[in-house]
Each structure stands twice: as structure tokens, then as C-alpha cells.
């Protein structure tokens, strides 16, 4: 918007041949983008209408893979698990990130150290973190159950019980992601004009009112941005599940992306896996479009 406003005079259209050198310079990047992004996406879409296995002759199967998908109880379970994970991670991550950002936006001693500590998990290798968390959750020798036992609570089979395993993964994801939310919220908080807070205080507003009526609304664009980013990210969860549970027990942590991987490389049903991929892509695209439109309406 600011760029448009700063342009003085009518915008001149430049003919192609006047700018051919610019296109020539762009061409390598465009070719790479085409090969690495557009081509695989189109190929996946086309594959989803076939029974390609890379081992046997491929046939066109129309919408069979999609019909099978919507009747596949394992896929339905994976969708349910993915939604469970997405909701479980996204909202607590945002709430914790916001609270940490607000706390560390104050002039409190050691705030830089706390910001660093809270952000450190984001920088940790996911696989290394997953291995450490698998140890934390170890039912008999793990430190988490050690703590529970000491305070008189029964130890829990965190990753071994179908009703607990996904929640255990969610806790790990929140630990890892809330640092990102905190940093983004901190940036947002520093953009809120101080005048608003001063005016509110003059009007007699107290801390809670100020937080709910000024801070939260002023951060709405950041919140929408984070919401979309986290939804897109959590829909694609794979690494932690691959390392910690391999989709078990009883498929309770099998997410759509993990099932895609298993279907493609475990069962060599690449066409069916491509159909799952396309459905996931369309879902994420829908969330992205909705989020972008909401953000545009808010003139972000």
C-alpha cells in the first residue's frame, strides 16, 4: 500500500522487449521454481488419478482414489488425529506465547535471558528433541513419571496408551513452538503505540482491562498470522511421530502426513498417497485463503 501511494504520476507499462534482460535474469529462478514447486504439485495432482506404484504399469483410475479415501476408516482416523493435534497445539501455543510475550515485554530482570531460553527449543533439532522427549516420557525410568511419583500421583504410560499418546506429542510440540509465538507476539507488542496505554490509564483502566481491550485487539493481525502459520505447520506434522510413536499405539498418533508416507513407501500405493496429499493441500490452501482474506479485511 505504501509503495502504491509513494509512486508519483501514472505508472508506465513497459513492453516486454524493453525489459527482456530482466526476464532473462529471472528465468533461472523461474525455471527452478517451476521444477521444484509447480511441477511436483501438478505431478502429484495427476498421480492422484492413477494407481501408480512405480513398480507396475500405471492405469488411470479417475476419482477412485478419492472415493476410497472418503470410505477409508484409517484415513478418517488420521484426519481426526491431525485435527486433534492441530487444535491441541495451535491454541495453547498461542496463549502461552502471548502470555510469555506480555511478561517479557515488561522491564523485568533477566528478560533477555528468558527470551533466549524460551526460544531455544525452536532452534533445537526436531529429531534430537524427539529422542529426548521419548526418554522424558519413558514410563518406568523417565523423569516425568519420576516427578509424578514423588508428588504421590500414579505414573502414566505416556506414549504407550492410545488415549494419552497424542496428548504427549502435543505437549512436546507446544514446548517447541511457543517460542516462535512469543517472538512474533513480542514484535507485535512493540508496534502498539504507547499513547493508547497512557490514555487508557488516564481513563482509569486497570491491567486486565488494558490487556483485554487494548493489547489483545491490537494484536489481532499478529494472532491471525500466527493462527494460519501454526495450522499449516501442525497439519503437516511428521518428524516427531516418525521418531516417537510411528503412528501407534493403535493408530492413535497416525496423522495424515505420516499415513501418506506409509502408504507411499510402505505399501507402494503412490497414487492413493497422492490423493491424500491433494486433499491435505486443498485443506491447507483453504485455511491460507481464509486467513489472508480476514487479514486483508483487517487492513493488515
Amino acid at each position: 500500500m505504501s509503495l502504491r501511494n509513494s509512486t508519483s504520476g501514472p505508472i508506465k507499462t513497459v513492453s516486454f522487449h524493453q525489459n527482456w534482460s530482466a526476464y532473462a535474469f529471472l528465468a533461472p529462478a523461474l525455471v527452478i521454481l517451476f521444477l521444484s514447486l509447480l511441477l511436483p504439485a501438478v505431478a502429484t495432482l495427476l498421480m492422484s488419478f492413477t494407481d501408480v506404484s512405480f513398480l507396475k504399469p500405471t492405469s488411470f483410475v479417475g476419482f477412485d482414489n478419492y472415493i476410497k479415501l472418503f470410505n477409508d476408516t484409517r484415513f478418517q482416523q488420521a484426519v481426526g488425529n491431525t485435527i486433534h493435534y492441530t487444535i491441541g497445539v495451535t491454541f495453547p501455543t498461542m496463549v502461552l506465547g502471548l502470555l510469555a510475550a506480555v511478561a517479557l515485554n515488561q522491564k523485568v530482570p533477566g528478560r533477555m535471558a528468558f527470551r533466549t531460553i524460551f526460544y531455544l527449543p525452536v532452534l533445537t533439532s526436531l529429531i534430537a528433541a524427539a529422542v529426548v522427549w521419548a526418554y522424558v516420557y519413558e514410563p518406568y525410568a523417565g523423569p516425568l513419571n519420576g516427578v509424578l511419583t514423588r508428588v504421590g500421583l500414579p505414573p502414566q504410560p505416556w506414549l504407550q496408551d492410545p488415549s494419552l499418546a497424542m496428548n504427549a506429542l502435543i505437549i512436546m510440540a507446544i514446548w517447541r513452538d511457543f517460542g516462535t509465538a512469543m517472538i512474533i507476539y513480542l514484535a507485535g507488542l512493540q508496534d502498539i503505540p504507547n499513547d493508547l496505554y497512557e490514555a487508557a490509564r488516564l481513563d482509569g483502566a486497570k491491567g486486565r482491562d488494558i490487556f483485554l481491550r487494548i493489547t489483545v485487539p491490537m494484536l489481532s493481525s499478529v494472532t491471525f498470522y500466527l493462527l494460519i502459520i501454526l495450522i499449516v505447520q501442525t497439519f503437516q506434522v511428521f518428524g516427531a511421530i516418525y521418531v516417537m510413536t510411528q503412528g501407534g499405539p493403535l493408530g492413535s498418533t497416525e496423522t495424515v502426513v505420516y499415513q501418506m508416507y506409509q502408504t507411499a513407501f510402505g505399501y507402494t500405493e503412490f497414487g492413493y498417497s497422492a490423493a491424500m496429499s491433494t486433499v491435505l493441500f486443498l485443506t491447507i490452501l483453504a485455511f491460507s485463503i481464509i486467513g489472508t482474506r480476514i487479514m486483508r479485511r483487517k487492513d493488515v
Binding site: 518406568y140 506414549l159 505399501y267
Partner: protein, 433 residues
Amino acid sequence: MKNDVMHAIKPTRRAFLSGTAAGLASLPILMSASGRALAADQQLVFWSQLAGSKKAAGEALEAAFKTARPEVALQSSLYAEPSQLNEKMLTAINGNTGPDLIVQHWDYNLTYASGKKLVELGKALPNVKTADLDPSLLAYGHIDGGQYSMPLYGTSRGLGINRKLISEAGLNPDKGPQNWAELREWAKAVTKRPGGGMLQVSGIQLYQNDLEAFELFTLLLQGAGGSLLTADLSAPGFAGPEGVKALTFLRDLVVTDKITDPGFGVGPGGMANPFNQQRAAMLIAGNYSTNNALKAGVEFDVVPFPKESGGFTSLVDPFCFAVRAGAPNQEAALKLVEFAMSSEQQVAFAVASKNVPALKSAQQNKDVQADPYLSKFIKTASYAPPTAPATPVFPRMMTLVARGVQEVIFQKNTPDKALKAAADEVQTLLKKG
């Protein structure tokens, strides 16, 4: 001058787009040509998953081959897990590139063979006498009437025991359980659950992942007189009375006898598994269990897995050579297979890796038998049936059966219903092929 040149080129949008399209179109041709040029060199490209405890044995085999066949330039790549090698293989097959030779877990080879991507080795290796090989191991490479992979070695399954915990319970570790009733008594006797509360020591660590759940069920199924598939591999055989009996026995161990907790042992495995932490007195052991157990200080031993009414059963799990159809250096690949199947190399590999050799004579070799654990795993291998569920739908079948087993252990389903549901799905898969 410059303007003249620019004018002469006459850049237009159409020319630019045509040029870009032509360039893109030529890329696959160039890439394919260069790929073929690289593949056509004289190197024998060998991909394997001879990693971990098999690494030294694999390296020794390759070194010996290089000495014996200096004319073959061997270029080998190592993959830590069969699944990693599989990912690499599938993408390589898709790109019509890939190795001349692989050593891979048997079920992946069946998948490649079902797509006619492997050379039939029965005819291609006239100097390897299949009658000299362990029939149980060999059966896993036999599909569509041909021998598409050749076992380099295998692992077998027995009942791994912690001698200390077994002795403390007043049982004789030198004489394992002889039937299911004794297995049950052993499991109950060694389970430690003070006050009926938290499990301290499990009688048997049942499984760590789907594959182990499947193997446990298969052993019990065989022990009850059943088999996974019918003799012609055209239909599931696991959902009959033998399968129900096997799964009921397993459920009773967990639910009635509480010899373990559901899910106990599920996790990353290795040194972290409960058996290696001395929190389980028994487990279904393979050759691979030995090193970690000994490293963890467990007084490890292995005894045969009992059948329901006496006698023993086992499973073997071979890792096999396969030669890629269309590979440029098939001749050199076959030379390596032949070399590795020789008596000398079979013995050397078995001693170094502690795995069961495919060659029957090597199994009885004095150096192989001198290893106290390897000799026991060779003994347990002798109890394995000479047939195998050698079907390309095996990976799916394994997942489905393991899911059914876990549903029963977690009391989400009954044995007959869980097995019936799994069998229906397996039947559909088998029909589809």
C-alpha cells in the same frame, strides 16, 4: 553496435516463452542422457543396509570380494534401515537408475519382484545350489514361481530370557518352558508387581512396534497349529480357531494374569527397551537382541519358543541379495552374490555379524557353532516352518494383523472379531494382488 545486436535478436514475449519451453523440454532429455552415461560405467553399484552389528561383516565381505575379483570396481553405499534403502530404491526405480545389486529385507524385495524389477536368480546363479541353502530362509525370496532374491543371512526368533531374573523366580533357565502352560507359569512367576500396583518387572516384554506384535502373534499362531496364509498363499489362514486360540492366550496373559501392561515396551527400543533395562524377564528375541542385552549387563540367553502342547516353533527373517532388472552390471552383481554364498564367506559373515548363515553347511561349521548365542539362534531357526508368507501384500498384512492384536490387548475388541476384520481386509488385498 550494441543496439544493432539487440535489434538483430528481436526479443519478443513469444520468442522468450518458446525458448524457455524448449529449454525445459530438453532438460529431461539431458538429465536422462547423463544418468544413463553415469550408470553405464563399469562400476558395480551395490546398495545395502549392512549397518550396525552387520557393518564389520559387510565391510569384510566387500574387502574379500575386491581381493578375489580385482577386475570388478565395487562401489557400495550403506543405508541404516531397510526403510531408508526402500525409499532410495523406489525413487531410483522410478528414475530408471539405481544400483546393480542390493541386500535388503525380504519383504521389500518381494515388492520389487512383483513389479518385475528384479532378475530371477534361480537360473542366473547356476553355481549356487539352492538345495544347499536353508529352505526356510530361501522361501522368503520365492514369488511367482521364481527365486527373485537370495538370502545372505537371516535372523531367527526364540524366547530371550534374563537368566538372573528367571533363576531368582526359582525356575531353571537351562530348560525353557516346554509348552504354553509352562510359558504362562514362567511369565506369572517372574512378573513383579508389588501390591498389584505398578509393574516393576514384566514377565514378557510383548512387543515394541507393529512388526514385533505381528511376529509374536505369528509364533503363537504356529504354536497352535495355524499359519498366516493358506498353502497357496491365496487366502488368510490366521483367523481360524488356531488364530483365535493364540490371541486369546495372549489376551489372557495381559488381562487376566497381568504379566505386563498393555503397551509396555512400545518405544524406541535398543538399549531403552525394558528387557535391556532388566524390567522384563523375557522377550521374543532375534540375533540382533544379543549385543544390546550383553552391553546392558543382562545375563542373556535364548531358548526355543514353545508350542501349545509341546515342541517348538520359530520364525526366520532373511536379508537377501537382489539384482535389479535392467542394471548395466548384472554380471558383476551375480559374481558378488556367488562369492558371498560360498562356504568360506558364509562362515565369515555369520561369525562377524552373529547372524544365521543361509548355507546349511555353514550353519554347522565349528567356528559358527563356537559362538554360544549364534549356535542357539541357529537351533531355533531349525524350528521355523519351511514356508513363508511371500506375498507382496505382506507389509499391509503385517500392519492389519498387528492392529488386530493390539486392539485385543487394549481390550478394544475380541480375538475372533479383530482377526476376522483383519482377515477380510487381507483377503481383499490378496485378491487385488
